[in-house]
Amino acid sequence: MISVQNVHKSFGDLEVLKGVSLDVNKGEVLSVIGGSGSGKSTLLYCINAIESINKGTILVDDVNVHAKVTNKDKLRQKLGMVFQQWNSFPHMTVLENAALAPRIVKKMSKEEAIEIARKELEHVGLGDKLDVYPTKMSGGQQQRLAIARALAMKPDYMLLDEVTSALDPELVGEVLDTLRLLAEEGMTMICVTHEMGFARDVSDRVAYFHQGVIAEIGEARQVITDPQNPLTQKFLSKVR
């Protein structure tokens, strides 16, 4: 379980998170929506300890993420993360991209790592691209590679930061389908997204972020189709 308790985060004078609290249970899919600058991506970075926090606590399976004694490299093995930019490693084939972290971080044998990488790549539909260099692939394929690369570490949670925002419109579908598949398989996910249809159909709950606080959080269909907070209503009327 991921537990975010009263988290504050500032960049200089700008307070981006102003006391955010939420829990994500095992097997749950939470979508986070909100305007740009609302702090939704920052929250993911804080959960993954890429960013520090100024106040509050984040627990992942009861481990305090930001405690000095926490081994952050070890913690990140539990938290697969995919970004807006897919960041494929350009000097490696697709298979090597996915096999690298299992091999050097988890110290698996080369054969084991390749086996796991191959499975995850087939899982996201890239089974025929194993020996291709990622720069030869479309953005959608590279983003699926990024998902497979994260999955190859066998994470307990997936943090997805606007993974379709940088994609050409016609490539969004294939990535969302992959995420849908993961959700069906019971992966615990926090998805920061602008895809309202995806948020409504795939996630269990939706949180609406407004200026660093959670303005509304609730059952996905309710928040998207029947929002209670006027701020949420206003936001959704604009993005539709």
Partner: protein, 217 residues
């Protein structure tokens, strides 16, 4: 009465080959040491610590802006004046290596900075440590990016090594100068020396093109 000059003969080939060999030795040494130091300095510079950057930056600026020939003469004379004269090979190797380092460090700094921070974040998010990220991601990506520039610097080091002749190192150019003063056949000898420089440099640039083709993805 015999002439004061003796024409070029086959017995001079030993001398010429020594010159070729000495040019190769000092060039390879300067390229290897300059690359190693340049990699370290370039990495430190890309990590953008301001104090370090200003310190290194000005030193590098001096090394790159003062003509090599002046650096060689100054260094060699200064060491002599300070009572610890260095053999031409030693003094020449030190100056040429540092000179090479100054150019290589900027090449590598550019390479390291070409790897986006988000690429590093992506690697770290997979659980890689900082060093693993440097070794498996930043280094290989930046080395590929800078290889053509590295090759260019290396090729000019081979040619610049000719300047070490001014402090008395018996490399190819100095050997040829001696032969010219004895034989008075500058045209033949300089053409020959040019060919030798080409023979030394060409394999490197040929190999470079091969490596570039192999790395092209």
């Amino acid at each position: 009465m015999g002439s004061l000059f003796t024409p070029l003969s086959w017995s001079d080939s030993g001398l010429i080959l020594t010159g070729v060999w000495n040019t190769i030795i000092i060039s390879v040494l300067a390229i290897v040491v300059g690359t190693a130091l340049g990699l370290i300095v370039g990495f430190i510079r890309s990590e953008s610590n301001k104090v370090v950057n200003v310190l290194f930056g000005s030193l590098l600026d001096v090394l790159r802006s003062v003509p090599l020939i002046i650096q060689l003469i100054l260094f060699s004379t200064l060491m002599g004046a300070m009572g610890s004269p260095l053999a031409p090979f030693v003094a020449g190797s030190i100056v040429l290596s540092l000179y090479t380092m100054a150019f290589m460090s900027e090449v590598f700094r550019g390479g390291f900075e070409s790897v986006s921070p988000s690429m590093q974040t992506a690697a770290r998010s997979l659980g890689m440590s900082n060093w693993q990220t440097i070794y498996h991601i930043r280094l290989p990506i930046s080395l590929r990016a800078v290889f053509p520039s590295w090759l260019g610097v290396s090729l000019s080091v081979i040619k610049d090594s000719a300047l070490v002749s001014v402090i008395g190192y018996m490399e190819l150019l100095r050997t040829s100068e001696q032969l010219i003063s004895r034989t008075q056949q500058p045209l033949e000898i300089l053409i020959g020396v040019g060919i030798f420089y080409f023979i030394i440099s060409y394999p490197l640039s040929y190999y470079g093109r091969y490596v570039e083709r192999k790395m092209a993805i």
